[in-house]
Amino acid sequence: MNQTPAYTTHHPRWYRTRVSTYWWSRKWAYFRFIVRELTSIAVAYFVVLTLMQIHALRQGAEAYAEFQEWLRRPFLITLNAISLFFVLYHAITWFNLAPKAIAARFRGKRIPDVLITASNYGAWLAVSAGLVWLLSGG
């Protein structure tokens, strides 16, 4: 649609009330929605961090140790703690919405939402535990 229509006598202006840029701050549900939308920034940030880690790993043992030392800075710890909150928020809202996306049926009956959500959380827990087991240790 044309954003700047030419107004003539025979083409009156559309009546549209301007929505405030801060519309999402009015209601708790709207605020949660925008927080969920902003989780994508943390997701992208984590990809950048991962690419930096792979780059350091390619450079050799010394560069990798330097990278690990860099992660110990209070600024990075704070940034990563905030990002972890957002990434967790993304995961939880994502799994809670899973039954809406997966309308699976078994013998003609729809599988209850609780079952789909629970199996997602179960798989998440298993994958997370596997990653901790794989990446930590002497």
């Binding site: 920034i41 792979i54 992660l71 990075l76 703690a81 990434v87 901790v132 930590s136």
Partner: protein
């Protein structure tokens, strides 16, 4: 003639990236961002990490974990700007920067993971 929209494909990438991010990122960010730097857990040694990352399956997983979530970000962030800041007149520029960033990040991930010395 019907003009096909590429929105379903972009939404598919958004959705797939969301799944990958939800399953893998919390644990990895917890480990690399907090648990290892703060000494709650000990990371595996450089040599072992290198062997793990060099494995083709790990490299493929890392590539997927970098690429799809970037498209997830591109799609969601585009609409955050669209709805949140109401800058609809910049739609083309925003789309270009978001999806362009995702494509660039994917290319970089491919380059870094193609072969690890």
């Amino acid at each position: 003639m019907i003009r096909r929209s590429n929105e379903p494909f972009l939404w598919f990438l958004f959705s797939a990236g969301g799944v990958v991010a939800a399953f893998l990122m919390p644990a990895l960010l917890f480990l690399n961002g907090l648990a290892f730097p703060l000494g709650w857990l000990t990371p595996s040694r450089y040599e072992n990490t290198l062997i793990l990352v060099k494995h083709p399956i790990t490299r493929l997983l890392l590539f997927v974990m970098c690429s799809l979530p970037l498209f997830h970000w591109a799609h969601r962030f585009r609409f955050t700007l669209y709805d949140g800041l109401q800058i609809k007149h910049l739609n083309e520029v925003i789309s270009f920067l978001c999806y362009g960033g995702a494509i660039g990040g994917t290319a970089l991930a491919g380059y870094l993971l193609w072969n690890i010395p």
